[in-house]
Symmetry: C2
Subunit: 474 residues, 2 copies
């Protein structure tokens, strides 16, 4: 029977590994067209995997046309030319089979670019227990139509959370739940208007300008200085609504000081129709210093839309984000946009509400803060003890899941990244996050994402990085 070597500690899920193995065998002709695959149960037993893992791999292979099923007979290898949905001479219009693949995650030994969370740290059993409770408690109630702004329980839980842990007064009425921040950005653009000019931080969150572009609205990158978004650049631009992440800017790591926050609020207050979109996505993971109040809290003019997400603090597959609207915009939203149904199923909303109310969310955040702090401390210690310690300098390490590392080097950023990749270490540089022309002040600044690193590999990773930097010297 099919036999493969799985990498148990890999970040690639087992089903994806299995999927890749079988796919390669099909493409290489090891598994000829119309040959029958083992049953899911048999293969699972043989490879000591769960049946669900095999099922997921098979499903992915079916989705991409590598396998087909015959009712009650099992799974068979497709003849890649005659696979049904491609029959109609459409292969050429779409090109390679491979394009349907999951986003290619190349296998690095040590990845300092990916800012994925460590799933293994999420208290899934507690979460699953709440899911089961919600099924029993709500029963058929789960089928009832939703309010446009979300389930009251969840909006209340978020309101109380914001009050206790963010010192922010937001009525549950002002909160609007949506399926992810990207969705809410789209709603915001509809709410503020297509004729409005939007501004965004540069360097910054890459998806944002794509969303502006897809909405065909005018959008302008605005530079940063040591305090965050440059008010000078903002004032020289035609921007009316500006997106910022003052709690912890990605990728520079800057925490916007109160003076700059006030300056931005003054800018907004000066003219009718100016708004600030405050993206607080990372604020849970502050390690030291007093938290700075949100712009939303200190705004007296109803010009700030506050936005946050649980995709970052729980898991990316939890598509729950929310925005808090000032009252005037809320009224406009209700009049013009409350016809949109809420996009998050009530089941997820009740589950999250219980998780927050029962203290599970707070405990999880505290646990993650501890884990991330340990990772950060170990990484910084290793960098400072490394052979290249005197050539690097660490910045903006007090919050959120990354810091900056400036390097003194002759090499171009891309060349360093290439050399590190060659020894299995994935790096990323600030310059990659720039929109438009490059800016030399962003050269040689590593963006170090440590949330997903495996500490047991740290010594070896440092050894490999030393190799990269010593080779440069020599």
């Amino acid at each position: 029977m099919l036999t493969y070597n799985f990498e148990k500690n890999s970040k690639t899920p087992l089903y994806e590994q299995l999927y890749s193995f079988i796919r390669e065998d099909i493409l290489a002709g090891q598994l000829p067209p119309h040959s029958k695959l083992p049953s899911k149960r048999a293969l699972a037993q043989h490879l000591t995997l769960s049946v669900a893992t095999v099922q997921n791999a098979y499903a992915q292979l079916i989705a991409e046309g590598y396998l087909y099923t015959k009712e009650k007979q099992g799974h068979f290898v497709s003849s890649l030319e005659t696979n049904a949905p491609r029959e109609k001479g459409r292969e050429n219009s779409f090109g390679e089979k491979g394009e349907e693949l999951l986003p290619k995650k190349e296998e690095y030994f040590f990845d300092l670019k990916s800012n994925s969370l460590s799933e293994e740290n999420f208290p899934f059993s507690a979460w699953a227990k709440i899911m089961r409770e919600v099924i029993s408690e709500q029963g058929k109630g789960l089928l009832q139509p939703l309010q446009y702004n979300g389930v009251p329980e969840l909006r209340c839980a978020i309101s109380q959370y914001l009050l206790h842990f963010r010192g922010m007064l937001a009525s549950p009425e002002q909160i609007i739940i949506g399926a992810g921040s990207e969705y809410l950005y789209n709603l915001m653009i509809q709410l503020l208007g297509k004729e409005v000019s939007y501004g965004f931080e540069n360097p910054g969150y890459e998806k944002l300008h794509r969303i502006f572009r897809m909405n065909r609205v005018a959008h302008f990158p605005l530079g940063m200085d040591a305090d965050g978004l440059s008010c000078r650049e903002l004032r020289c631009s035609p921007v009316q609504a500006v997106h910022i992440s003052p709690a912890h800017h990605y990728p520079t790591g800057i925490v916007m000081p109160i003076s700059r926050r006030q300056e931005l609020l003054r800018w907004a207050a000066e003219q009718k129709g100016r708004y600030i979109i405050e993206d607080d996505y990372d604020s849970e993971f502050r390690f030291s210093g007093r938290p700075i109040p949100t712009l939303f809290s200190i705004d007296e003019q109803q010009r700030v839309i506050y936005l946050n997400t649980f995709s970052k603090s729980i898991a990316p597959s939890i598509r729950i984000s929310y925005m808090v609207l000032p009252w005037e915009l809320l009224q406009r939203f209700r009049q013009e946009m409350s016809f949109y149904s809420c996009t998050v199923p009530s089941f997820e909303q009740y589950t999250l509400a219980k998780f927050i109310r029962g203290g599970g969310f707070e405990r999880h955040i505290n646990r993650m803060k501890k884990t991330y702090r340990q990772k950060r401390d170990a990484l910084i210690e290793a960098l400072q003890a490394s052979a290249f310690a005197e050539r690097v300098c660490i910045h903006e390490e007090k919050a959120g899941l990354h810091f900056l590392l400036s390097i003194s080097t002759e090499l171009a950023d891309a060349e360093i990244a290439r050399r590190a990749a060659a020894v299995g270490v994935r790096l990323s540089f600030l310059s990659e996050y720039l929109y438009g022309e490059s800016n030399s002040s962003y050269q040689h600044q590593l963006v170090v994402n440590y949330s997903g690193i495996d500490l047991s590999r740290l010594p070896e990773a440092m050894r490999r990085l030393e190799e990269v930097f010593l080779a440069e010297k020599g």
Copy 2:
């Protein structure tokens, strides 16, 4: 303790009834500010309700500022002037407290306007069983990031469903899952472009022109004739992308014949950049006649986007819809829009995939078809046996959850609706669904939605309708 009379058979959920009772007591001063409410458990026991019901009512009251909680002390009535989130002098900017209320569902004895599904017919226990299985089977896998287009299992299940029950060949690769049709319309507008002129059926689906308006795209209502959307009007318009629901148009009930379908496809093929958005939302509930192939299936030019939803066939709170893109548009979608994360949680997707694959969906549809057919038949029979039988005529009753009833009358539609409402019967007229100026050919046509009616009330409802029509005569 608080004692109220609940209407057990009401369509208003118990928690909403309880919420209204308590709210009225607060507004009337029966429950004075800062008085303590009974504990959820005690009130539930006292009123023989579930704790979840009381909890939902309390949560709604908190959300709207009528109640507040003190930690470990319970629920208290707010002093409506000093309630925390309103303190900052913002009450006036928002007006009445009451505005946060759930969409007001007036209490009718018999409702022929609401097209809500009968929740009680959904096999919730089978669904809940699958939910529990998915939690166990997928475990932490539920936390993994989603592919932009949805979980492969669900796309495969939909692909097979479309093949078997709709005779439509759509590869799982072409399917894109999203949180509701409204969300997918927004994606489509981004995909096809803001510079495109959109057309929609008039009368038709009311939300559609709101979505076009919120997206600030040019949009044109197009008239209908006996075969559906008028190709003559379409050809006289600048429309490039037209939305239609050929399987069963709401509210006219017209099923578009094959000749008109082909005519529309010819229109699309004539010029580059023309597209048809085929909304098949109601196609599961066809009662007689051979199903007509979808435009997507007979389109040779890759000009049709197919759209369908499970909100209609399962429950409105299931926010799962999907679109099937022709290959060329799919390629554009992948290049420009696959950065958008999928908006439906993987949990719901796995659950629905299992429900479809295990045959539960098909059984549910068959059961519902039977139920709806019974309702339709009983209603038609009662109408034909009524005292006003000779003044009415039934049309377009072969598909979907509504039919048309033309009435010979001197009264204006609004007046008939008002008189019926006065005796507890809710009616709606075709003329209400018109966009823009009224059209006399749509007068005196009742849109009879029967999916949610209570057959035990039918004889009394007919008696009351007779009263309305006899009064007119007299």
